[in-house]
Structure formats: C-alpha cells, structure tokens
C-alpha cells in the first residue's frame, strides 16, 4: 500500500473520512466542523457527508458531550471536536461521569462508541486557557480510553482505532504538532491499536518514557546524548489508557534507569503515575530513582518565549538524562 506525506491534522481527517465512508453511524459535531474545523482536520467532511453527519455547533461544549453520551448509548457513533481541550472541561460532567461511567452502570450490555477530540498543549503563545495538557484527567476517571498521537501516522492510525472502539475515547491531538508532517499509510485498514506503545529509539543506558509533543524532543535529545556515550531508549506511549506496561517495564528492566517526560505540568501529571508504578512493580530492577520532567507548575504565559521556558526543552531532557545516567 502506498503512503502519502501529510500533516498531523490532515491525517486525523483522513481517518474520519475513511471511517465515515465505512460506517454510516459515525457523525461529527463541534464548533466549525462543517467549515473545516479549528485546525483543518474536518476539511471537506461536510461536502462529502452533508450537515446531517457533520454538525456545526455554537459554543456549547457541555451539550455537545452530553449529546455524544446520549447518542452513543443509543447506538450511534458520535465524534466531538472540542476545538481546545481546555474548553472540554466545561463538559466535565458529561465526559468524566456520563461517558466514562454509563457503560459500567449499565452492566456493559451496550457499547458506547464516542470519540472526544481533545486538542492539548502549547502552540506558541495561545495563552494559559488554550494550552493546557489535561490528559491526566482521562487517566484518573476509569472508563475512558486515552490516546495522544505524536506524529501524523499515529494520528491516523489511532483515530481509526478510536472510531472502531466500543468504549469512549479521549483523543488528545497535540496542538503543537498539528502541522507537523509525516508519511501516512493510505491503507484504509491501517490501524494503530490503542494500548500499544512504540519504541522509537532502542537504547541501553536509560529509558525515556514519553508521548505527544515530547517524543520528537526526546528523540533529538537522545541523538545528542548518543555522542556522549548515553544510549537512551525512547518510548512513545501513544496511549495512556490502557498504558502499555509490558513495554515500559521490560524496557526499564533492561536499562535499569527511567525518566518520564511530558508537556503536562509535572505535579500530579501522568509521569507521577508512571514513575510510581515503575517503582511499585520493578523496584528491584532499578539502579536509580525514576525521574520526571514536565511543565513547570505555572499557568502558562501568553508570550511564546515565556511559554517555551515553562515546558521541557531538548536541552532540559538531555540534562535530566545526564543526571540520571550519573546516579
């Protein structure tokens, strides 16, 4: 099957088109989706599928998510694009209670197909209320699946998996990677399974466990470290729920040193859970404490330069890896 070079958002859009062609019960709603969406992922959807299946909404996140919960329990397959993940918190009750819990409250008898597109992270000065990384909330409320693609190929493959998943999926698209490009398989059966991490760079000295926007940065740091004799393994988690513990734990059991890197704030971020589980489960494989690198615990600045200071840079990742290797 052939491949095509395309952007991350366009790859998500391609998955939507392919699945909407395949499955009539899929429909999408959100602000601007009928005119291409905030970031272009839905470009062309309305002209192909019409405004019955591509529904433009006003500013109404709570209603959109509530509609998704109701439609999914009734057998439809709704997709909601929240535009900015920050605003999805307005729909917190519908997402973290209704969508997360109803399937369990109804004895798992009914599937609940629903995908909430949850754009996260910084994009160069969008400001504190448009740049949050809220994926940890999806980890904290059982009942949801949580994915964060780090590249265009995974954006397509994970969206395909999300659209075929009988449980609600929080699909965190990474705003900072929205226009990053990559080679994307055109095979309509190409799927990246939810819950499978990818070892992006094998290594022996330490494991950098990361996802989303920090994958390219960690890989760049790993190349710099290689010149210093530190051979870092870089794991792209791709899914946070379920999290590929087999991959993480077997990597750390080999390298004996681990650090978690994410753009989300460090305190009580996903790294806290990952670090805790590593030490609970394989403490006696560790040569060193599990380290964490996340955004500083500030509301992010609107100024792009100040914003960049708050989130992990390639240099900061390399510096922490050096520190870890020296323990």
């Amino acid at each position: 099957m052939s491949h095509e070079m395309m952007g991350y958002n366009a790859a998500m859009g391609l998955a939507l088109v392919e699945e909407m062609r395949r499955d009539d019960s899929i429909f999408i709603l959100g602000q601007g989706v009928a005119t291409g969406g905030w970031f272009g992922a839905e470009k062309g959807l309305a002209s192909e599928f019409g405004t019955d299946r591509v529904i433009d909404c006003g500013i109404s996140e709570a209603f959109e998510a509530g509609l998704a919960a109701g439609a999914s329990i009734a057998g439809m397959k709704p997709v909601v694009n929240m535009g900015f993940g920050d605003f999805a918190l307005i729909a917190g009750d519908e997402i973290y209670h209704k969508l997360a819990k109803w399937r369990y409250m109804h004895g798992l008898d009914v599937p609940m197909h629903a995908v909430i597109i949850f754009p996260i992270g910084t994009m160069g000065g969008a400001g504190p209320e448009h740049s949050s990384c809220t994926e940890v909330l999806g980890m904290h409320f059982p009942g949801l699946k949580v994915v964060v693609p780090s590249n265009a190929e995974d954006a397509k493959g994970l969206m395909k998996a999300a659209l075929r998943e009988p449980n609600p999926v929080l699909f965190h698209s990474v705003q900072g990677l929205g226009w990053s490009r990559g080679d994307v398989p055109l095979d309509p059966e190409f799927i990246v399974p939810i819950g499978k991490a990818a070892i992006k760079r094998p290594g022996t000295s330490l494991s950098i466990i990361t996802y989303g926007s920090m994958v390219p940065r960690s890989l760049e740091a790993a190349e710099a470290l290689a010149g210093e004799g530190i051979d870092a393994e870089v794991i792209d988690l791709r899914s946070l729920v379920p999290l590929d513990w087999d991959c993480v734990l077997s990597s750390v059991s080999r390298t004996h040193r681990a650090m978690v890197v994410h753009e989300a704030a460090k305190t009580a971020g996903p790294g806290a859970e990952i670090a805790a589980q590593i030490q609970e489960r394989i403490f006696f494989d560790l040569e060193a404490p599990v380290m964490r690198l996340g955004a500083r615990d500030f509301p992010l600045a609107q100024h792009a330069d100040l914003e960049a200071l708050a989130i992990p840079s390639v240099d900061a990742i390399a510096a922490m890896a050096r520190e870890l290797a020296a323990i």
């Binding site: 004799g229 080999r254 004996h256 403490f283 006696f284 494989d285 040569e287 060193a288 020296a326």
Partner: protein
C-alpha cells in the same frame, strides 16, 4: 573576603576529565611555588599538578578516584604564613555559612568531601549506596558486595558489576563464565571514543614496498661515523620532508574547511601498559634524521614512564604508527587520528626475494624491504596525492 581560597583542577589543553589519583601535600602542610600538590589521571595521561605559588593546604575536598572535570574544586588553601587560628576561624565561618539549598541533605557539613556531579552516588561514610537492583542481584547470586570494586558513576557498584562478579552478564544464558572486570581508565575511554570517531571516517589505505638496502648501508656508515639514526627516525625524517614539499597531507579536516599546515607536528604512536598514546614532536621539519631519532626515543621513554604532560599529546598534524616494532610484517593499516587526514603505518622490515636488474639482466635477490601503508581521509584527499607521496617516499629511501 575569606582567607580561604579555592583550589581547582587547572586547565590543561583540551583535557576535560581528570580523576584525582592521590594527594601529595597533606592538609595543614605548607608548600612552595612549583611543589607538586596532587596527581591526576586525565583523558590523555597521568600528570602532576604543581602549585602556582606558595601556600598552605587547608582542606582536601576531593577524594582519590573521584571522577572530576577541569575547573572542579579539589581543595582549599590559604596564603603562606596564615596563622592556624585564622584558618580555623575561617573554616568555622565557612561551615556555618553552609548553603541550605533545597533538597540538599542538611547533615552534610560544608567541608565534607565533595564529589562533583555524582555527589548522590559517592561513597558515604557508612559505605556505598546500593541501588535496589544491586541489592536484589547480590542476594540472588550470593555476591559479597564488600569484595566488589564499583565501575559505576562515582565508583558505585552497579548491577552489571554484581553480575560480572557472579560470572553472569545481563545477556543471560550463554554468557561466558568467570571473568575479570577491568574498569576502563580515562585513557581507555578516550581511545574508545576517538577510535569510534575515526571508524566513521571514510578511510582508504594505500601500500608501497620499499627496498631498504640503501638505508641499511648508509646506516652502517653513519654508525661508523658516530651518528645514530634509527630506521624509524630516517623514514620519519623523509616522510616529514615530503609532507612539507607536497603540502597536501599535513592537514586537519573540519566540517567547514581543510586546514593545511606548514609545520609538521609529528605524532608517533607509542604502546604503553595503559594503552596507546601518540606524543607529538613539534616542528619535526626543523630536525634532521639524527635529531628526529633522538626526539622519538625521548618521547617514547616519557610515554612509557608516564611522564608525558597533556601538552605533549596535543596539536599533531600527521601521525606515524609503527606496529612493525612489535611484529606484524605484512601491512600496518591503521585508523586515522582525527582531525588529521593521513597516517603512515610502518610494518616490520623483512627479508624478501625481489627481482633486481643487474647488468641488463634480471635476477632474484634477497633484500630487506618494508611495506608502509598510508591511510587517508577520503573526504579530504583523493588517492592521487597519496600515491605520489608513497612514490616519493620509495624513491628517496631507495636512493639514500
């Protein structure tokens, strides 16, 4: 300002890492300008650090074998003649002003041994800090940790050390049994890094056979005249002459430009107990064959006795490697010594049958020959000048 001054590992050319081997001056001892304070092992060689003025060594802050870098703090000193009372008062003031940095263990006194970078892993007074992995492996394999020498950061015992002691490697099944663990010296680490760099350079090697009959005949005459010229000295001298005349191979490769040098700073590889070093003879073009013979002998002796200074190992523009002195006689191909672009390898001299023209007829004669190999960085130079170099080398050495 405190009367206590900081003693730091001095800048030594391109040296970065320096392991303190031992203190020569004791705490409280007065030293004079030029006295040896302590010894360090650097990436290049072991060397003695001299005082650059008189003083009193107040505190030794670095422990032997701690990995350190140039510029790291190793001790405190005070001006010669400072009274014991003043020093004690200054130390007390320093201790009480210990910085209470967040996260720093409060119980560590300011003048406790400071191991830079790897402080968390440095041996403590209660003994080594052991990672969970080390504790598990030691229990599983019944390894007595007190008998192990650590190879990890700050000399810490690592899981690999325990497995090595248990005769196992992390590789699991099929790993070789008993083995001796030899921690890499800084020099060995440097060699490893530099050879890895060199192996990434697109390198080719050209060979030449040279009849040394003339050279040996002349050497006998020189000896009779009381001049001492070694075969290596003569070949090196002729090679240097050609390097200067030809002006192509005496150069450094950098990413942006080729740097061709007028002077030849000749590196000569010397085998030592702690691995290969390449001391440099500066301005080798200003020495005659006899002078070069003496210079090579002198540097080789310094290398073997460990008396080389970092400066002796820097700035080479061309290298001669002479494995022939140890045995191999067919070829002496070598990895380059980057950023240098060429290296002449000399295998041993052998007696070999050669076709020789005598009075218009060809005959086979047994001759003494050497087959030098010239390895070159093909990014910087093509085969033509290299063959031309070897042709000239052959011509001149055969016509001595």
């Amino acid at each position: 300002m405190s009367i206590l001054k900081e003693l730091k590992i001095p800048h030594m050319g391109s040296v970065e890492n320096a392991k303190l081997l031992s203190w020569v001056v004791r705490e409280g001892e007065t030293y004079a300008d030029g006295d040896i304070l302590y010894e360090v092992e650097t990436d290049k060689t072991a060397t003695e650090i001299e005082a650059d003025g008189p003083g009193i060594l107040v505190r030794q802050l670095a422990e032997p074998d701690a990995p350190m870098k140039v510029g790291d703090l190793v001790g405190l000193w005070a001006a010669a003649g400072t009274s014991q009372g003043d020093i004690a008062a200054a130390l007390a003031a320093r201790d009480s002003a210990a910085p209470a940095e967040a996260g720093a263990p409060a119980a560590v006194a300011a003048d406790a041994p400071v191991a830079p970078a790897a402080a968390a892993a440095a041996p403590t007074e209660e003994g080594q800090r052991l990672s969970p992995l080390v504790r598990r492996l030691a229990a599983e394999h019944g390894v007595d940790l007190t008998t192990l020498a650590g190879t990890g950061p700050g000399g810490r015992i690592t899981g690999d050390d325990v497995l090595a002691a248990a005769g196992k490697s992390d590789g699991g099944a099929g790993a070789p049994g008993d083995c001796e663990t030899i921690a890499h010296s800084l020099r060995r680490q440097t060699i490893a890094r530099r050879m890895t760099e060199a192996a990434a350079i697109p390198t080719l090697t050209a060979d030449m056979e040279i009849d040394l009959g003339g050279l040996f005949a002349r050497r006998a005459a020189d000896k009779a005249a009381g001049r001492s010229i070694s075969v290596l000295g003569q070949i090196a001298h002729t090679a240097v002459e050609i390097l200067v005349e030809q002006g192509l191979l005496n150069a450094h490769w950098t990413d942006s430009a080729l740097l061709r040098f007028k002077s030849v700073h000749l590196g000569v590889a010397v085998e030592t107990d702690d691995g290969l070093v390449v001391p440099v003879i500066r301005d080798a073009q200003s020495l005659d064959a006899e002078g070069l013979t003496a210079a090579i002998a002198e540097l080789a002796e310094k290398a073997r006795s460990g008396a080389l200074k970092p400066a002796d190992l820097e700035g080479g523009t061309f290298t001669i490697s002479n494995p022939g002195s140890l045995g191999p006689t067919i070829r002496a191909e070598a990895l380059l010594n980057p950023p240098q672009i060429a290296l002449l390898g000399l295998p041993g001299i052998v007696r070999a049958p050669r076709a020789v023209e005598r009075d218009g007829a060809w005959a086979v004669e047994v001759r003494q020959v050497v087959r030098p190999s010239l390895s070159f960085d093909h990014r910087a130079v093509d085969g033509g000048p290299v063959i031309a170099f070897l042709n000239l080398l052959k011509e001149r050495l055969e016509q001595l």
